[in-house]
Amino acid sequence: MDEINNLMHGFSVAMTLPNLVYMLVGITLGILIGVLPGLGGANGIAILLPLTFSMDPTSAIIMLSCIYWGALFGGAITSILFNIPGEPWSVATTFDGYPMAQQGRAAQALTAAFTSSFVGALFAVALITFLAPVLAKFALNFGPAEYFAVQLLTFCSFVGMSKEPPAKVIASMMLGFALAAVGMDTVTGQLRMTFGFPELLKGFDFLIAVIGLFGIGEILLTMEEGLAFKGKSARLNMRVVLQTWKELPRFWMTFLRSTAVGCWMGITPGGATPASFMSYGIARRMSKEPDSFGKGQIEGVLAPETAAHAAGTSALLPMLTLGIPGSPTAAVLLGGLMIWGLQPGPMLFVEHKDFVWGLIASMYLGNLVGLLVVLTTVPFWAAFLRIPFSVIAPVIVVICAVGAYTVHSSMFDVVMMLVFGVVGYLFKKLKYPMAPMVLALVLGDMAEASFRQSMLLSQGSLSIFWSNPLVGSISGLAMVLLLWPLWSVVKDFGRQRKARQLKART
């Protein structure tokens, strides 16, 4: 087994003392980011990215990906103890987690959440371990048409899978593409949409967009809710942890289902948030006692947490193998890869074995370390939320401003961060999804390049996207997903007609 050998080599890369320290630092920072409102996985990593420019890429990605795991763990703490989802993907955890805390079962809820996160992540990492090399080998034969088809699939699945109205998904996505096109055209060297402003020559950096949209936007949104946090306190002792662990194997079916949902939603860019909702919904529908959900049912904590962590982890699979991130956080990590001088995509598995397998091994270790850290330090993190928001809010604004400035040492970026913050607030309120915009901003140049290359090959004919079975089936799937919302319109129409006919008959 090649994969096992590679993985063992990866462990030898990840298990060095400095890397283990970076892992621990990453997890701790990640939990902190997950606990604080306004700082999340995506913008937290974006803010810290400039600090890693001079680090060894393997250590840097280990630290940054551990921040991501930490943030995934941390989100559960605030949802359960304070009924405040620290991250969007832990919203579904509040449904049953907070009632459990109110009933005095906070410790069980937390143990269940952390353990199921760990299980979800473990399955997803195993999937990456065995699927990634295969997918990468397969993708080595991809031409520009195949690449564009995969990118098309990514964006079409946003339209098909989002809860938001399709027009808003497309608008947000196209805004991302338009912003990505600003600046110098990489092929012809012409200036596009700069309108004579020298600041726009470089174009818009998606890191700034991420910090503004998710950081400043979130702070503004939190301000609406008022400034009071009222929470339950919890102390985790080993006895409760072990007792809860004894109960958990009963729910193996929930774990399996949620992991499957999570992995699927992570690889296709549904992301952790819809995965958690979907998994919660399925668990309730499949349950023998669906009425107990929302009132402190432990399964209602297990399902979304498993799915969110599985999705968050498996989002790295397309990022590593194809260079197409499955979530905004994966997009930020992808940005990091490019800054460290690594070209994401299938060649990574050939040319930078140390890096790839070190990262994969660190995912196993990082999640294990994360589980241990989070189980032992809950009271400490809960105390963080008792700091009044009037202190936390301005400090987070300062952190965001510093983060935005350090990306390019430019004041203009800080101003743009503020603009993106307002956009983020408006988009959130008006239910425009933000993930498609961020992904379009990241992938814009790449998508354009592969589209133009395909057009060059085919002399401008779109038929190249149907020219062989591989590219044809990818584009076909993309079209199905794109037209998915129409299907529900047709179904609604049919149902209405049936209802009308029934009414006419009676």
Partner: protein
């Protein structure tokens, strides 16, 4: 999380309806789309000898942006009376602006004064105004925050942050 803004509230609470901002954002996106299309036309959307020209791809992006934002715009206009959803209550908007305005001033001040002094002022202002803290905790936190940033960024990671006249006097 429950979103109180989506619930139809009683008439006693003044609130901003969703449709106004909805229309404004859609109109803004339409304007941006028009800009994208206009500039793509300027640099050429057809083929040159060496392949598609620079405006080829953005042109279609602009068209799609225009189409989708027009859809949102029109559906908002068509359901103008039916849509009574609330964007935010007046009071909530007040707290949002209470954050946004100091934030704008903070960024403007950063251009002239560097990052450290405005950061201290921002933290101090919030602690005094909304946290009702005494002078001792306010001063200690608002000085500790920039100092911590200075140590972590400039000393530890060697990443320079913007500095103003005060830092110059202190000799950095």
């Amino acid at each position: 999380m429950n979103e109180p803004s989506n619930l139809p509230d009683g008439p006693d609470k003044p609130a901003l309806k969703e449709r106004g901002p909805e229309l404004a954002v859609a109109a803004l996106l339409m304007l941006l789309a028009a800009l994208v299309i206009k500039d793509s036309l300027r640099i050429g959307i057809d083929w040159a000898d060496d392949g598609p020209r620079a405006g080829y791809f953005p042109f279609y992006i602009g068209l799609l942006l225009l189409a989708s934002s027009t859809t949102v715009f029109l559906s908002t206009v068509l359901r103008w009376r039916a849509n009574q959803n609330i964007f935010a209550e007046r009071e909530q908007l007040g707290t949002v602006f209470a954050m946004l305005i100091p934030m704008v001033l903070y960024v403007i001040a950063m251009v002239w004064l560097g990052i450290y002094l405005p950061s201290a002022l921002l933290v101090g202002y919030f602690m005094r105004r909304y946290g009702k803290f005494g002078w001792t905790p306010t001063l200690s936190v608002s000085i500790a925050v920039p100092v911590a940033f200075f140590i972590v960024f400039e000393r530890w990671f060697l990443v320079p942050l913007p500095k103003g006249p005060i830092e110059k006097i202190l000799g950095f």
